[in-house]
Amino acid sequence: MGGSSAVVATTGPRRSPLMTLAWVLPGTIWLLLFLIAPLVMIILVSLWERTPVGFAAFSFSLDAYGRIFETSVFLDTLKNTIFRSLLVTTLCILIGYPIAFYLSRCVKTIKFQIALFIVVLAPFWVAYVVRIIAWLPVLGRQGVINYFLVEVLGVVDEPISALFYSTFAITLALVQLYVLFMVTPIFFQLATLDEAAIEAARDLGATPGKVFREVIFPLSLPGVLIGCIFVFVLVMGEFATVRIIGGGTIQSVGTLVNDYYTIPDLPAAAAAATMLVAVMTVGVAILLRFSKIREVV
């Protein structure tokens, strides 16, 4: 991943510090207002007291955390959410890696490669809610999957009603929504791989399995890592997919946050969100740590 200096282009002509400030300022202000300030607010509000309609600023207390940990609901949901995120991340690696591998290493011409990559990536631009809704006719009681199971294959007599509104349906939809965040970084990593290093490995007698284990996979690891961070973090914060496909019977930390918000108990919503951020940060830190270890060995 390297430092940010690797990403800085440094292709520009000399300029005055004032000019630098002029280019930096608008974006910085925007990010401070609409990204940093909201995140800081979440942590602050979680530490403030609740009022009937909102919160009392700067009246510090830990009551919100007390409220969310009062019953086991929050902790159980948090555990389930973490488990779901890890499951979706694993499935995304298992699906995304071969897809990225196919695109970058089995498709010969660059033009065809780019064309297929755009086909793979295009669903990303379809409204997220629409992509969730599109699962209705597939996973429903009379959906495509049940139709195949009952009518075509005949493996079950009765349609499986648990298909929609189930954790499996949610997992499936989440994988479909977020797998592109795994495919893209791995694809770019594999596409820019030093072809000569692979040829050299083969030249020195490595079998296909060993070329993959010794050269291709270690070199694509940064891409896998970025993909894992994206998928893990975004699924941890998921709420609409769980709500629509889970049909209100299945919870995630995201739906809980929304529930607290509508009560309204804003500090509790903030406390739940803070816990979420904490878990995500720890998760990302573990992943980064893992990459550091790999680099030293």
Partner: protein, 357 residues
């Protein structure tokens, strides 16, 4: 056909779209030779090397080593190994792991392979860098790691693709000597590809000049420098003047060619009335203020004097065509005085060289 060494017989390589990259290559390389493939970009030298290394297959023809057919054999199974252009080191592995890689792939156990790898690393003088990653090494050091990585597998021949291309000039000079020394010490065949004439002349036992997908000439450095076979080689080796004309007469082992710029006499044989071309090395051209002789002399204008440190290159204008001469460094003051003036360029008959058409 020889039973030892590397033999290329009637090798062609035609890429899709009817692009002929390599055509009619016949070559025998003895074991322990230092061979340099020399030619401009796109001449087919790298393709030839890749076919020997097994990274590409000939469209037709055979490649054998010690009588054993290599066609269709995978790179891993061939007793030849490549040092890739830009080295192709594994960036995530240490020097030791890079060098031990080939042995690991052969299934050698850890202690044995690390012992052999260490020996190879010490052979190329990098004993202190054993545990560094490639990016922590200089270009010259990376080059040595790449070399150690192939040496350790004890191949019959080592293929080097522009091995010095990434290094600065001073380091290039140093590595030339080192590479050559190492090759003599090991007695392994080295096949080296470059576009740099000087590098080829200084390192090779024999040079294979390639151009337009075919072998233009094979010879020792001195043969190539003194007796380029045709115009392509003469021009590519540099510092040669080529004159074209019609053969006027042939007698006593010499021919006289009538060129638009005067008559020239060169050793060789030919038939009167046919086209003839000759080459004369810049260093064989003498500059004086004498009158123009009947043969082997032209009147030229001295445009520009280029000081090269150990010699002087004179850029001459020969009725609008460039003509080169090279003289001793001591004559700098003398010749500089003639810049912009007319002088006479002459050369001895035996220094001229008849080219194949």
């Amino acid at each position: 056909m020889s039973d030892t060494g590397l033999v290329l017989k009637d090798v062609y390589r035609v890429f899709p779209g009817d692009i002929t990259a390599v055509s009619d290559v016949n070559l025998e390389i003895e074991n322990g030779e230092y061979i340099v493939f020399l030619g401009p970009s796109g001449c087919g030298k790298t393709t030839t090397l890749r076919m020997i290394g097994g990274h590409d297959d000939p469209s037709s023809g055979t490649i054998t080593i010690d009588g054993e057919l290599l066609n269709g054999v995978s790179p891993a199974q061939r007793p030849v190994t490549t040092v890739f252009q830009h080295y192709a080191l594994f960036p995530h592995k240490s020097v030791l792991q890079n060098v031990a890689f080939g042995l690991k792939m052969q299934g050698m156990d850890k202690t044995a392979r690390e012992q052999q790898a260490t020996a190879a690393i010490e052979l190329v003088g990098l004993g202190a860098m054993m545990h560094r990653k490639p990016r922590e090494l200089s270009g010259g050091q990376q080059q040595r790691v790449a070399l150690a990585r192939v040496l350790v597998t004890r191949p019959k021949a080592i293929l080097l693709d522009e091995p010095l291309g990434d290094l600065d000039r001073l380091l290039q000079m140093k590595m030339r000597v080192e590479l050559r020394g190492l090759q003599r010490e090991l007695g392994i065949t080295f096949i080296h590809v470059t576009h740099n004439q000087e590098e080829a002349l200084s390192m090779a036992d024999r040079i294979v000049v390639m151009g337009d997908a075919i072998i233009q000439q094979v010879g020792t450095p001195t043969e190539l420098a003194r007796h380029p076979r045709n115009e392509f080689v003469a021009k590519f080796m540099g510092d040669n003047n080529v004159l074209h004309g019609t053969i006027e007469s042939a007698s006593g082992g010499n021919v006289v060619i009538n060129t638009p710029h005067g008559k020239v006499e060169v050793p060789g044989s030919g038939t009167a009335g046919e086209k003839g071309s000759m080459a004369i090395r810049a260093s064989a051209v003498n500059i004086s203020t004498d009158a123009v002789p009947a043969v082997n002399g032209v009147r030229v204008r001295l445009d520009f004097v280029e000081y090269l440190g150990d010699s002087i290159k004179l850029h001459l204008d020969f009725n609008g065509e460039p003509f080169l001469a090279k003289v001793d460094e001591e004559r700098f003051g003398e010749v500089q005085a003639f810049e912009g003036k007319e002088v006479t360029a002459t050369w001895a008959v035996e220094d001229g060289h008849l080219l194949e058409q």
